[in-house]
Symmetry: C2
Subunit: 332 residues, 2 copies
Amino acid sequence: MNEMKILIRGFGTVGQEVARVLDKKRNVFKDKFGLKFDLVGVEDSKGSALSEDGLNIERLLSTKKKTGSIKEKGDKLGINEINYDLLIECTPTNIKDGEPGLSNILNALKDGNDVITSNKGPLALKWNKLAKTAEKNNAKLKFEATVGGAIPIINLAENSLASNKISSIIGILNGTCNYILTRMAAESLPYEHVLNEAQDLGIAESDPTYDVEGIDTALKMVIIANSILGAEASYQDVDIKGIKEITTESLELAEEKNKTIKLLGKADKEKIEVEPRMVPKDHPLSVGGTLNIATLETDLAGEITVTGKGAGASETASSVISDLIEIWKERN
Amino acid sequence: MNEMKILIRGFGTVGQEVARVLDKKRNVFKDKFGLKFDLVGVEDSKGSALSEDGLNIERLLSTKKKTGSIKEKGDKLGINEINYDLLIECTPTNIKDGEPGLSNILNALKDGNDVITSNKGPLALKWNKLAKTAEKNNAKLKFEATVGGAIPIINLAENSLASNKISSIIGILNGTCNYILTRMAAESLPYEHVLNEAQDLGIAESDPTYDVEGIDTALKMVIIANSILGAEASYQDVDIKGIKEITTESLELAEEKNKTIKLLGKADKEKIEVEPRMVPKDHPLSVGGTLNIATLETDLAGEITVTGKGAGASETASSVISDLIEIWKERN
């Protein structure tokens, strides 16, 4: 590949940050990896901007900021006619049917195009179909950004620990829950109070269901279990318990035993679980605030643990673009 | 490359474990990565065993165990005549002149052969020469095993976090020191007492100088700073302070502030330091026992921390063979 033609579908916070970083680091990536690229198309919920010669990213971001969309009048090409090598799929997660991400990804893979996604829905619902479609069409499908934000869990398992058999994974993969439990424990404050605080700070969403009921963690664990452990699981297979029923009393009881309560995701090849569990305070999994963490149990390297920020536009872009660089290396 | 011809120089604990794991996982690696290999030569301090058609690894390990060497009588080829693709260099670290590892590695690179090493000496003394020789001859030089045992620090920076600029690295990279400080703090025992205990347990060597004076940590930090930060430093450039003068009193004082003392290595592009420092007990760097840990400060992903076992034959083999798989992928 002389030059990578990139299409971004979904141009919210993550999509925009990916474009911004790609543009800002264009010369660094060219010098370091020989990477040359053009952003040939962007689609948001209102329309698309397309150019076979490459869009001006700075102008695109500025238009999006001013008008709320990147839609350009009089596009000669439809999004399905544009010629590209890599789809970066950043539409929002939908756990009912995975759309529109699922169709976006499948269409790209069927045409033999590589895909990077930050969208958990399609992978947690239709892993087998996606993996098989990618394999059949000799297309690459990468998704580090879907699990643990900036933390490289998938890449760690597949590359850095390639010599190992990984038997299980345990982790804290939702920063909102971790923030709420950390604050509840530190200040002896009730759940509702801390949730409100988290919402004021922008750490929890106005409808926090998806996070606090453990759904987000479950989706991530399914993706991890399927890709790293070969589990062939779907979101429906996960036993899920969230944090809404955790009381200050139970946290105080844990404290007396020098423990704390964390919402843990656990997966081995047979079973995926999400539930609040007691963790000794000096245990590596006892990280506070909005941090995420994952421990991989391996046969040669023992337990390898990785910690970092689990969310944020820049952190998610870090994973998306690291995947992009890997695809560039593999294709060249 | 149809088949990777491997030469192992240095056949102590690490070299043997690498051979053992390669043999045991031969079919797994073939199925998973298409990796095919022959071990065409092994050299220990007493001699060598060579075979262009591939040595029988099981027999080789059994011979080594029984006789203390793998030297075979009547080898028709000398070690310099054998045809190979990859040198795995596992001779012991020598910080005076890096030999015999330095010459072993340079000779391999000059012939355009790839090299993986677990030997810190050559890299910490002659980084520039080695990096340039590799580049000039289009040969790959990988060395994950030299820093942090099982923990993938180099690979994490180069691949998983490829989109990031890494500005500094801080970590605990010597398990012996970490064990001694952890035990001293937990039991209020003096340095000499805990050192003896560590020696009895095989955690500290009979001559512990290399570990307790911070030399081992310094070598690792030089390798990390050069390869990840582009520092062009040498071992002589490091400010080193070890742990021999840490008293139980200073640990108790730290404890009063809810802190503990750790031997930390720190590197940015300008400066590399190794010294004991106070760390808050709830800080991610406050890991106990023989664990190693490294935190990478990045521009996009924030702080990414990785923890695991820093030593051990199986852990070191994990890193060596993960590097081997990466080279195989890059060459195919």
